[in-house]
Symmetry: C2
Amino acid sequence: MDILFLALADQTRRDVVERLTHGEAPIKELAAPHDMALPSFLKHIDRLEDAGVVTSRKVGRQRIVALTPEAFGPAETWIDRQKRVWEGRLDRLEAVAKRIEAETNPFPKDET
Amino acid sequence: MDILFLALADQTRRDVVERLTHGEAPIKELAAPHDMALPSFLKHIDRLEDAGVVTSRKVGRQRIVALTPEAFGPAETWIDRQKRVWEGRLDRLEAVAKRIEAETNPFPKDET
């Protein structure tokens, strides 16, 4: 999971992911919009591939990169779980607050 | 966004977030399960606070840390958008495949 969040913690790598949601592409095309040396760009692709976010394959003299969107699953699930625990806690706090109000308010709204 | 993904790219920091979904806590309590020196642990809290994932306040001689779950918003939205673009593309590919099949199949299923 560290490696997945690290892979996404960089604007160049997120740009590559955004481009690949529209379909696979050769490295050269992916590198074109980025003002950096090819070896530096290839390191970004390596990071994405290590994290399972992309796969690449050689076709002739080109390397084609494709997205593996399932790779986001663990990150999504983790964030989602934190939100659900948090929201569950807020719901319980609200229920407790309502019960205390009902027990201490001598003129409950519903019974006036 | 880099800083947010980086904040989540560490097991200790994710543990802290998971603990805080159950409610705010003093630094000492948060540090207890982690086998590391307090200054190292405080750096993790700083990283989370810099990313807006937690806030902290001093109460007497304690520092209390609380979660800011809204901070996950940009990360969630970004991941979600990538998935939607990808799935939209799959839907369009499927539609094209069906059209080609309909145009080239001399015996379409529906008309036999």
